[in-house]
């Protein structure tokens, strides 16, 4: 009766039923933002609220990465003065946030998505074009 899967179950019966791609939302310009529209394929799998919350958090994290503020300007000016050689030594703010995003996605996968037979792919692996959600076929007997 339980529709939850453990990661082990998924692995043993890891049959990919389909993939859903959440495209970018460009209405606010070129910043990295994903559409929060709930895809129909996920209707049976996951709660709309949960999904939207995940995407919204991702969007917020990306916004933080691309935020134009004092800190990023400082970083930019310093880089300019050193002929951008500090990029060789220093991790940029963007990259730090990307790491945070990766952690978040892993955490979400572990806690929320894998039990439901879904897997989120980090958008950076897809060139920040899409959020790829792999739907695993539910083959476990219920």
């Amino acid at each position: 009766m339980a529709e939850t899967h453990s990661l082990q179950d998924l692995r043993q019966q890891a049959a990919i039923a389909s993939k859903v791609f959440i495209q970018r939302d460009y209405t606010s310009g070129t910043i990295c933002k994903f559409q929060t529209k709930f895809p129909s394929e996920l209707e049976t799998r996951i709660d709309k609220q949960q999904f939207e919350e995940t995407i919204q958090t991702l969007n917020n994290l990306y916004a933080e990465a691309e935020k134009l503020g004092g800190k990023s300007y400082l970083e930019g000016c310093l880089a300019c003065l050193t002929a951008y050689t500090i990029f060789l030594c220093m991790e940029t703010h963007y990259e730090k946030v990307l790491k945070k995003i990766t952690k978040y996605i892993q955490e979400q996968n572990e806690k929320v998505y894998a039990p439901l037979g879904l897997l989120l792919t980090d958008p950076i692996e897809r060139g920040l074009r899409v959020v790829e959600i792999t739907i695993y076929e539910d083959r476990s007997s219920r």
């Binding site: 930019g76 951008y84 990259e95 792999t134």
Partner: protein, 521 residues
């Protein structure tokens, strides 16, 4: 030197000695000793998150080795240049020679007669110029990785959906999508080569055969595209070069005036042309425009002034400058030094024709059946992976060097629903593409065809047998590893697409308008 920070410093030290050019056989991956049992915390750009250190006998390729664009890579993927390196050596040579002559002949005289600050200033400017030139040339300009086959299929599905595309005439209209940004209607075009809808301000460079974000232009002097990630380097380069040439010119003039009071060799034009270019780019920076948009008149034609037309401008010169030059440095999206995920089918190269289908299931079943037969690998998973590959069947053998249709780009009637695919189930050996990436491309000018070189691992094969799902360790990393054959990495599957590029944007060359006549020195 801008490498886009796609390698951690520690990995640099590890691989420091290995300036492998081209075909790296390095399995040097000390930095990647991730315990597969432990939960990895992968860094997004530098290393592939779900790939442990390859302790396999098979050589693992880095993604730059299978990169589909026309680029060259050095230092094991750390340095990227366009294959058309243009006249970068000439640029460097001119700068070095001119500066060298200046330091040798003019400086001693001027130090004696004027001030010893002259060589210092000259030296600083020279260093700035060379560093920013090299960074501009060697940095990934903001290349967008091509769509994975599943993504491409998904997009095709959406396009073919009635309602999404406008008409159902024989020649469907070009694939565009309209969105509204800041009360401005912006058209997103579909790139046939990269199989994506290009984000706003992105353009496909036909010389490099890549979609580049915030594409400015392809600069032959620098031997690379100028785009989102290296525009600031480029701007720094031309501004510092302006100062350097003006400085040298001034010093030479002074020198000659003090010494001979005679004829002055006027290198006016070079100075003015570089100053002109700097001025032009300063204007672009202040209005948050790209050369591409300015040339095409994307925003200025629409309303009276450019300010209200451009939806990306902040309408504040200072803010625009800050954003363009000092904004956050975006990461490289192409993950050059990541490893290509393993192939799961060891079969020989086969070409399969896929029938025209708008029905995913039919194609899927057929595809997977065929693949299963060919692979003759046990298929523990019965559920087929849906791959919608629409289009009429036509066999298109990959042929190198077919000409690009110059008028194409997204404006061509690519055919809603009219694209066929030839599925190449290639062996791992075949998957190794030449560094310059495009020798197996086939293009067709008008036919609605796409040619895929499709790595079977990527979701279409329902047989993951050669990389069986690891049975132990109940954690996410192994799940991801299991899924890795299905999670086709963006650049490892190298779809051989059409060489359709929007020639108007991609091949614009700056030098026609503002030649940098450093050669006149």
């Amino acid at each position: 030197m801008g490498r886009g920070k796609d390698a951690q410093p520690s990995s640099d030290k590890d691989n420091g000695g290995a300036l492998a050019r081209g075909h790296s056989t390095m399995k040097n991956c000390e930095y990647q000793q991730i315990d597969p049992q432990a939960l990895p915390t992968p860094t997004p750009t530098p290393t592939p998150p779900s790939q442990p250190c390859p302790e396999k006998t098979k050589k693992q390729q880095r993604k730059w080795e299978v990169f589909p664009g026309k680029n060259r890579f050095y230092c094991d993927g750390r340095i990227i240049v366009s294959r058309q390196s243009g006249v970068l050596p000439l640029t460097l040579g001119l700068i070095l020679v001119t500066s060298g002559l200046f330091f040798i002949f003019d400086c001693p005289f001027l130090v004696k007669h004027l001030t010893s600050g002259i060589p210092v200033i000259g030296g600083v400017l020279f260093v700035f110029v060379v560093i920013s030139l090299l960074q501009t040339s060697f940095t990934d300009p903001g290349i967008l990785p091509r769509a994975t086959p599943e993504e491409a299929a998904d997009i095709e599905k959406q396009i073919d959906n009635p309602g999404a595309s406008s008409s159902s005439t024989y020649r469907p209209p070009p694939r565009t999508k309209e969105i509204v940004i800041n009360q401005q209607v912006v058209k997103l075009k579909y790139c046939f080569t990269c199989k994506i809808f290009r984000p706003p301000r992105t353009s496909h460079c036909s010389l490099c055969d890549n979609c580049v974000e915030r594409f400015d232009h392809h600069c032959p002097w620098v031997g690379n595209c100028v785009g989102k990630r290296n525009y600031r380097f480029f701007y720094c380069f031309i501004v510092s070069l302006s100062f350097l040439t003006a400085f040298i010119f001034g010093c030479v003039t002074t020198h000659l005036a003090l010494r001979s009071r005679g004829k002055l060799v006027v290198c006016f034009f070079s100075v003015w042309s570089i100053l002109g270019l700097s001025g032009f780019h300063t204007y672009l920076v202040a209005s948050n425009l790209t050369t591409n948009e300015d040339i095409k008149g994307s925003w200025s034609g629409k309303s009276g002034s450019e300010d209200t037309g451009n939806p990306y401008s902040y309408h504040n010169i200072f803010k625009n400058c800050c954003v363009v030059l000092c904004g956050p440095m975006p990461p490289s999206l192409i993950d050059r030094r990541g490893y290509v995920p393993e192939d799961s089918l060891p079969s020989a190269t086969v070409e399969i024709q896929l029938p025209a289908a708008k029905n995913d299931i039919n194609v899927t079943a057929e595809t997977s059946k065929v693949l299963l037969e060919l692979a003759s690998a046990p298929a523990p998973l019965a559920a087929p992976v849906p791959v919608s590959v629409p289009g009429p069947a036509s066999k298109l053998p990959p042929a190198p060097g077919l000409p690009v249709d110059p008028a194409q780009g997204s404006t061509s009637a690519g055919g809603g629903g009219g694209s066929s695919s030839v599925l190449n189930v290639s062996s791992p050996a075949d998957k190794r593409r030449p560094r310059h990436g495009s020798s197996k491309r086939a293009t067709s000018s008008h036919s609605h065809k796409h040619v895929h070189t499709h790595k079977p691992a990527n979701g279409t094969a329902s047989s993951p047998a050669p990389s069986p799902v690891p049975a132990l360790a109940p954690d996410l990393s192994t799940l991801q590893q299991a899924a890795a054959p299905f999670l086709s990495s963006s650049s490892s599957s190298t779809p051989v697409g059409l060489k359709r590029s929007s020639s108007s944007s991609g091949s614009h060359r700056r030098e026609r308008r503002d030649p940098k006549l450093t050669s006149q020195h």
